[in-house]
Symmetry: C2
Subunit: 595 residues, 2 copies
Amino acid sequence: MDEHCDQGCQNLRWALALLDGLVAGGMRHLVFSPGSRSTPLLLAAQRQTSLTLTPILDERSAAFFALGLARAAGHPVGLLCTSGSALAHWFPAVIEAYESEIPLILLSADRPPELRGWGANQTIDQTRLFGGFVREFHDPGPAESGAAALKMMRTLGARVAAVSLGNWPGPVHINLPFREPLVPTAECSAESNPPLSLNRNSGHKTTLASSEQSWGEDIDVWTRDLTAMMSGRGLICCGPGTFSPVGESLAPLGFAEALWKCSEQLAVPVLCDPLSGLRFGADSTHRITRYDSFLRHPATAAALKPDWVLRIGRAPVSKTLLNWLADIPTILVDPGQGWSDPNKDVRVRVNADASSFCLWLATLAQDVMDKQTHADWSAQWTAIEQQCAQLTANYLAQAPWCEAHLLTTLLAHLPADDGLFCANSMPIRQLDTWSGGRSAPLGIFGNRGASGIDGQTSTLAGLNASGIPITGVLGDLSFFHDLSGLLLLRQLQRPCIVLNNGGGRIFDYLPQRGLPDFERLWRTPIDLDCGALLHPFGIAHCAVTNGDEFQAALRECVNPSEHQSSGVIEVRIDAELSRRVHYEFWQHIQASQSI
Amino acid sequence: MDEHCDQGCQNLRWALALLDGLVAGGMRHLVFSPGSRSTPLLLAAQRQTSLTLTPILDERSAAFFALGLARAAGHPVGLLCTSGSALAHWFPAVIEAYESEIPLILLSADRPPELRGWGANQTIDQTRLFGGFVREFHDPGPAESGAAALKMMRTLGARVAAVSLGNWPGPVHINLPFREPLVPTAECSAESNPPLSLNRNSGHKTTLASSEQSWGEDIDVWTRDLTAMMSGRGLICCGPGTFSPVGESLAPLGFAEALWKCSEQLAVPVLCDPLSGLRFGADSTHRITRYDSFLRHPATAAALKPDWVLRIGRAPVSKTLLNWLADIPTILVDPGQGWSDPNKDVRVRVNADASSFCLWLATLAQDVMDKQTHADWSAQWTAIEQQCAQLTANYLAQAPWCEAHLLTTLLAHLPADDGLFCANSMPIRQLDTWSGGRSAPLGIFGNRGASGIDGQTSTLAGLNASGIPITGVLGDLSFFHDLSGLLLLRQLQRPCIVLNNGGGRIFDYLPQRGLPDFERLWRTPIDLDCGALLHPFGIAHCAVTNGDEFQAALRECVNPSEHQSSGVIEVRIDAELSRRVHYEFWQHIQASQSI
């Protein structure tokens, strides 16, 4: 691609990428009203051979026409107009589409952000103009160049087309600001570059549990294409999420059982996020938990690259894993409205109950896939997981006591069917790295929706109020951030463990480390005596600095006597030592791992 | 009024009241599109003789017609349509009106709340349909009967008309749900009942500082009407607010000087809220501060009722005062967008700089008003203020030590130009009752925007960061609500005084007192040792229980030595005793006061 094309050409490539995605997602008609600012999109539409263009002068009439067309055709229909009040004329039809669940793709051209709110002509605030009457709103900003930007636009197109056809069909709105010039000054070599083959199915509504199909796509065709996509070496990655809400699944098996059955039939490994609910409980040789460690080894990472990944739930906690997954064609299973695809690699999104889908896939694999081809592949993953577990154990046996030992001890100590809440920032990442798996069930909880360090103490108190005994692991900054939560910690059945390492130590692992005034502006330690702080709240406290003390504290705090409540175990961590241990461990893995 | 009229009649009265207000506010045209749900408003419009009705089939066309009419006529023009997508057709014209600052009154009929979101026909979510493109949005709910409800609707009409013509003219939206039947089944005696005479001016934009006039009303007519309204016995009530922002006023005098000059010329008392900035600083015989005490005396309250009140700023802290002001014709001065009128008594709203308006009024009074007529009136207020101050002093001299003595001591002790922050719930009300006035300036601060008990400690820390030494007075519940704020209290120049009376004692004065489980569900005391709590934060603490101890603590805490920071003075209050003192005091005033 010519990176040095002019603004007009850049606008055109940008618009073309979006339309590629929309067409792949099933859009076949674009109804437009004349205007100037919408020119790049119209130029791009001209280059889409499978797109029918219909000009209608009045935007209101255009919108009702598109509504009728989409209603009868069962495909999403695009609407295009210029900036200003033009798109407001769509509003009545948008409301009708919202209520009648008709897939409309609203493409409004806009002036660039630097002109909005500064009195420029025909410039209004178009963002979220239709309020709650669209299923999604996007404003991707002015055109950018580069492969990643164009990939994002293609994926955005496929996504909104899919959303418009999803389990709650309806209008979606993309607001598209363009900078001038709007027409390429020279010949522009921009070409249509549709997403991978299966994209045309990505808008598919597949409610497998009820076998219901809408928008009239043929399940056999879809299945054949999916099977083709999954013919190479693949893996399942299960992220944070609750996949078998009690009483809501129609599948005959629980999620974990269905998943292990599926991985067995497909002969693929399952990478289990700490918040997937899969690390603790019934074992499987397919369960992989130590990827964050062994994928840091470049040779291992390269050797294990799959041809496809089936992702279930939200993106995983491990950034190592997420980065490694980039550019691998992805099937995403999500029963709700989530569109978890930060890498923009989803080719097929399955909007279905995860248990039902896994069982369906297991049956499919039994019938049509040749699992023997991939037995080696699966065995290779199992071997490296075991090797990594052994290397980790060997390394920790001789390393100074730190969070790794603490978590290992804790996991060995907690009764079956207990819960563990890991706060954000370091604790959940530490758990991810060191937990491994165990056969006794243990519920893992974390606030990964927005991943803040706020409200962690109060959340722990709320979790405990469920009746399940839940141990907390929090960093000192999280703990001090939610001081009002201390009022709620009086009735704990299990300890709240505070890893006191003197401030936000996650920054020690990030590029901010070493910036001027680093301690005061990023690490921000809070100088408070934890024991003295807790005393007036009547919360028991003990401070420990090594493994023996921690084990002793744990024995006392887990299952406190009838008349006592569990308290806070403050673990004083030598953060610098801990940091050295982590980096040494990663070097150790790189030096010792063989594949 | 017949309170037993049917639903249709009730709808009609409701709609009529709204239109009365709109007509009084200057609306002369109503453009409507046919529909059923809007029937009550159309029936009401037929009874307004000064209203021209124009039917236009297409709502979009109707909206642009109204836009043109309002643009040329310079008066607000009403738009009326039925429920469903009908009002969405207005959107393009609404956007144009928003940008061009044209006064449109958008009246959308709606289904009642019980039908919204439950699949009823022609029912969509009409609330805030135009997002940020209207100046105000109101949804007053289905029609109610009774004088207070109708007064509210009349005032709402006058208000939105005024807002549409305000210092930022533009569209306003009132969504009006109606229950069936929409037509009165019998003869309905509902009549037009316009607001008091001056209402027709209430939409007036009066930027006195710049002598600017828009929407072409004659300032002489307006002044004559205002003067007529102020011919009886009046008073000024100055509520919470900052009326002379530094560098923003165009008036030659500061607000307090301008106000005292105005009260002098008008010969009227000024009731000064604790947050008005008028209680402490240059004295005036017109300054009244003890109204919350003496207006509890029924005979006094009746004898002092004025014919009009000029209100400046937000509604006063004193509920006694606010209730006493109900039904008194009110002139409201507000330089901003506030429309502080919980009693719905505002007849004229002056959207002007408060200092400039006071000076203008002082000149006007000098020229055209006869202040001698009201000299007795003013002297009567001064006398009762002085009498109440003496009665209060006499009473407190023999009463057990409580918050009243504490505040009196504190105000006598604080250096001039210091600040005092009173938290919500009890402290600000105690200050209101006991402060009186003093000639040395003292800045009073409080969070009365939403009047929460949240964030009070953090607010105090922020106030102190301004460089002004500011003492805080907080209740124990506020103090314990914002525990995270303790991290910010390390560098105080003045003490933070915590009135620890064991929970939310304001409920002891409210009807909730005595309900089952009152202590646990309303008073909600927090059982924390304040000293132990503060120790780990490095905040000094002392606990006092009487006047001598408090004075000693105050001497130490105000102006701490260079290397020390001021700390927390915890005042342990016997809440039951305090409550008895308050009730006894009010009885004492009622028994002793003479008028």
